[in-house]
């Protein structure tokens, strides 16, 4: 998978489901024969992947929410990792 461009619109793949697990107090991403238990940051990032916002807009949203800057590498690392497993899709 090549890293996505800033204009790409990431979304959770239809085969996967993001949900809250109240046994572990974590968000989990469930998919055929597997799951990812997300940390707080991962859940925040996936939570703003609504299929409308572009990668650049997602980074801006998170930076504004946390009053931080330079979040792009972290966001891309998570999303590219999930995209390599087919769990996140990049749309135009």
């Amino acid at each position: 998978m090549s890293p996505a461009s800033a204009a790409a619109v990431p979304r959770v793949a239809p085969k996967a489901r993001l949900q809250w697990d109240d046994v572990r107090n974590r968000h989990v991403l469930l998919y055929p024969e597997g799951l990812v238990i997300l940390n707080h940051t991962g859940a925040e990032i996936l939570g703003v992947c609504d299929g409308v916002r572009s990668l650049a807009e997602i980074v801006a949203t998170l930076e504004q929410r946390y009053g931080a800057s330079g979040l792009e590498p972290d966001v891309c690392a998570l999303l590219d990792g999930l995209a390599a497993k087919g769990l996140v899709l990049y749309g135009p």
Binding site: R17, D21, L30, Y31, P32, G86
Partner: protein
């Protein structure tokens, strides 16, 4: 230590129209131990209790799970609880309407077995004409928008078809193909001499898998389940005993894996008599091989124990007669010669071009006869 289970395999019934000779169900599936299937209400209680313990992934299996007329209701309950549900089916006589109803009820994923890449071989191995139904069901599954896994159990009679099987899964638009080399439990252990492949067959198939993985990267996930008799080290069976996984049998016994019921030195509890939470945390069967304190040498002082948890308890019981020893597949096991002898016998037979053993099909009359023999 407080492990939380992630996976529940619900074996809804041991009834099955197919007769695959490698079936992982118990040899005595037709006997009294498995006769009285759990009711709809009992299964729904199991799902609720499992979810409360931490389970997130639910496999609906069997036998043939679509023989349960309450399957839609079970799926609906699982969906409402937030379980990610997979139907593991032969697809025999599975209609588009039934699949659509299951989709409506919230089923997440469909896994359909196939026994060979063409009707002739697939139907011969299944012992039941089912290839046409499977192909039809693959198409329905994709039309209805389910993620699809094509599942194949590999052995001496179909390993040469690995490339054709991958091409079939590709043409169907599947997400995954699971190429599962036969693991020798249940009927597969009984039929081991007929099913065991040669080293040359495995090497040829593995070369195809590596090549096809490169070609299909990002399009089709190719899962290759290792043929552990031919490996140097054991598999990390179930990710460790009683760590993440449980199986509930049709009549409600709870096992740490779908083969564990064969271990006669363990006492298994039923959800009809005990709460699932107690069985998971407190029962003797789940605690006996949990963690590392049960381990003998060579596992005890071996750094690999963190990776493979001592291998498979069922295999230790079946091959070495003791569930508490190192998996005999391990090259460090003092009982590895038992595995080597089996593999060598297959190689000798192949070199002499001897006719392979006949297998026994998995069917109720054979099961009752085997159960009567003990």
């Amino acid at each position: 230590m407080d492990p939380k289970p992630l996976w529940l395999l619900a074996e809804l019934t041991y009834r099955c129209p197919l007769q695959c000779p490698y079936c992982s169900n118990p040899l005595e599936f037709a006997g009294p131990r498995f006769k009285r299937e759990l009711s709809t209400e009992e299964w729904c209680r199991v799902f609720r209790d499992a979810k409360a313990l931490g389970v997130l992934q639910l496999g609906l299996s069997g036998g043939e799970p679509t023989l349960r007329s309450d399957l839609e209701e079970l799926v609906r309950t699982a969906h409402e609880l937030g379980l990610y549900s997979s139907l593991i089916t032969s697809a025999y006589r599975l209609t588009r309407d039934r699949l659509a109803a299951l989709r409506q009820a919230g089923l997440d994923h469909v896994q359909i077995s196939i026994q060979g890449a063409d009707a002739e071989l697939s139907d011969e191995i299944a012992g039941t004409a089912s290839y046409r139904d499977k192909i039809a069901a693959y198409h329905y599954t994709r039309e209805l928008g389910f993620p699809l896994t094509v599942n194949v159990v590999l052995h001496r009679r179909n390993l040469h078809q690995v490339e054709a099987l991958i091409r079939l899964a590709e043409s169907l638009g599947a997400e995954r193909i699971e190429l599962a080399n036969t693991q020798f439990y249940g009927w597969a252990f009984h039929n081991r001499d007929a099913l065991m492949p040669t080293k040359a067959q495995l090497e040829a198939a593995w070369a195809v898998v590596q090549r096809e993985r490169q070609r299909l990267v990002g399009r089709l996930e190719i899962v290759w389940v290792l043929p552990d008799y031919h490996e140097q080290f054991p598999k990390p069976c179930m990710g460790g005993w009683g760590r993440a996984y449980m199986t509930v049998t049709p009549a409600g016994e709870v096992w740490p894996c779908h083969a564990a019921g064969r271990i006669t030195t363990l006492r298994f509890e039923s959800v009809r008599e005990r709460p699932l939470e107690w069985i998971w945390h407190e029962s003797e069967a789940f605690n006996r091989f949990r963690g590392e304190s049960w381990m003998p040498e060579p596992c005890r002082s071996c750094p690999r124990k963190e990776m493979d948890y001592g291998g498979c308890r069922c295999q230790a019981f079946l091959v070495a007669g003791d569930a508490g020893v190192t998996d005999p597949v391990c090259s460090l096991s003092p009982r590895r010669h038992l595995i080597d002898a089996t593999v060598a016998q297959v190689e000798r037979g192949a070199a002499a071009q001897a006719t392979p053993e006949q297998w026994t099909y998995r069917a109720a009359p054979a099961s009752r006869a085997l159960a009567a023999k003990g």
